[in-house]
Amino acid sequence: MIELSHVTKSFPQGRSAVTALDDLSLTIGDREMFGIVGESGSGKSTLLRLINHLEAPTSGTVRVGGEDLGALSPRELRVRRRGIGMVFQQFNLLGNATVHDNVARPLRLQRRREPDTVQQMLEFVKMAGHSRKHPSQLSGGEQQRVAIARALVTRPKILLCDEPTSALDSGTTDEVMAILRDVRDRFGTTIVLVSHELEVIKASCDRAAVLSGGRLAALTEVTPPPPRERFDSYAARAREFLA
């Protein structure tokens, strides 16, 4: 369970301060797939960074699993952060490490060596055949799948996704989103998904928060769209969409 209560976050800018989040209260339940939408500058990414303990709120409290993050030391925060997976817009893979080593890196940070878990996660994202390649040899969608495997390898209870499909084309977006839904169903992971792409949120999330100017503009249940035809290729999809 993630609970934000009256959270305000402002950043100093010159002599004044910019308020990124303004008195925001929000509860995200376990195993929920929760969307956060908003224009750029609406505070979406800041919200994610607060949940991931990368920023501390200026006022208000952030509780993850019942624990008040404001009460933890920097070291404790660092350890808690290891229990939260993160997926980035630009994948953030290490270019000089193989696919296998990228996925194994979070385990190495915890001095764990579990080649089987790494292999399992690569199979889960259907990248097991690429484990000796380097990221530059992969497509964007493949890189993001590796990044998802990396985020899951420590079996986090929470997975935070910051615009995970914004750098991908639409067919690849569907693939990545299907994997994220699988993650929730198979591992019971709570997923918080930040995106400006409304279709992505609509296709996958249970609930969504709409942010505007750092405030919670709306909190809504998401009605899934009618099942859509699956297209085998980009060309088939483009033809259908445009005709």
């Binding site: 630009q90 290490l94 940070l109």
Partner: protein
């Protein structure tokens, strides 16, 4: 030509010793670059304002060291450092003593180069390390150095080549070396062919060092194809 060969044969003992002396000075200064320069460069990167671990006072102090060492003309620096050299190695004369100012310069040069190389690592890499809960040493060892490795090799190559050049003037404090040999046996005794031979030797050495560095950097860079 045969006269030159004869002279080279005559001086081969001195030439071998001078190459050995240059080797010792190079080895010492590269050791300093790696053991002192790289940590300083890494601290400059980490402690900079807006960096992962901002420590303004530490950053200013290290920055001052690097700037001071790099701004004093080298010959003056060697002379000015004599008291320090004497305190460190007990003498201010000879190959070991000559290694001291070279080591200071190599460390300062590599500190600056490695800092600049680390600044080229994408911000996302640091963000990733932080989101995974990496501590400072893990950030350095598991994220920054692996991603910056080809740049670190190339800049070490540049430092090495600069040291070849710097070491040639160490004759002023009895450091010996190839450059000293070229001056004393070549220039000062009007045996210019001997001097040009030594210059040629250094050109070849620099080309080999640069070639090896470039090749290594290319082989370990997997970031883009």
């Amino acid at each position: 030509m045969s006269a030159l060969l004869a002279r080279l044969a005559e001086y081969r003992g001195e030439i071998l010793i001078s190459i050995l002396e240059t080797g010792i000075m190079m080895a010492n200064s590269l050791l300093a670059a790696l053991l002192v320069g790289l940590p300083i460069g890494t601290l400059l990167y980490l402690a900079r304002p807006g960096g992962p671990y901002p420590r303004p006072a530490l950053h200013r102090a290290l920055n001052l060291y690097v700037n001071v060492v790099r701004s004093v003309p080298f010959l003056l620096f060697v002379v000015a450092l004599i008291p320090v050299t004497r305190a460190l190695v007990g003498t201010s004369f000879g190959t070991t003593a000559a290694s001291v100012p070279l080591a200071f310069v190599a460390a300062a040069l590599y500190a600056r180069f490695s800092e600049q190389t680390l600044l080229d690592v994408p911000e996302q890499t640091v963000e990733l390390a932080r989101s995974l809960g990496a501590g400072p040493l893990q950030l350095i060892g598991l994220f920054l150095y692996p991603e910056a490795r080809s740049g670190l090799v190339l800049s070490l190559t540049t430092v090495t080549i600069s040291m070849v050049s710097y070491s040639t003037i160490m004759g002023v404090v009895g450091g010996g070396g190839v450059g000293d040999f070229a001056i004393r046996y070549g220039y000062q005794t009007y045996e210019y062919d001997l001097m040009y031979t030594m210059i040629l030797l250094m050109i070849v050495a620099v080309m080999l060092i640069q070639g090896a560095g470039t090749l290594t950097a290319r082989l370990i860079d997997k970031r883009a194809r």
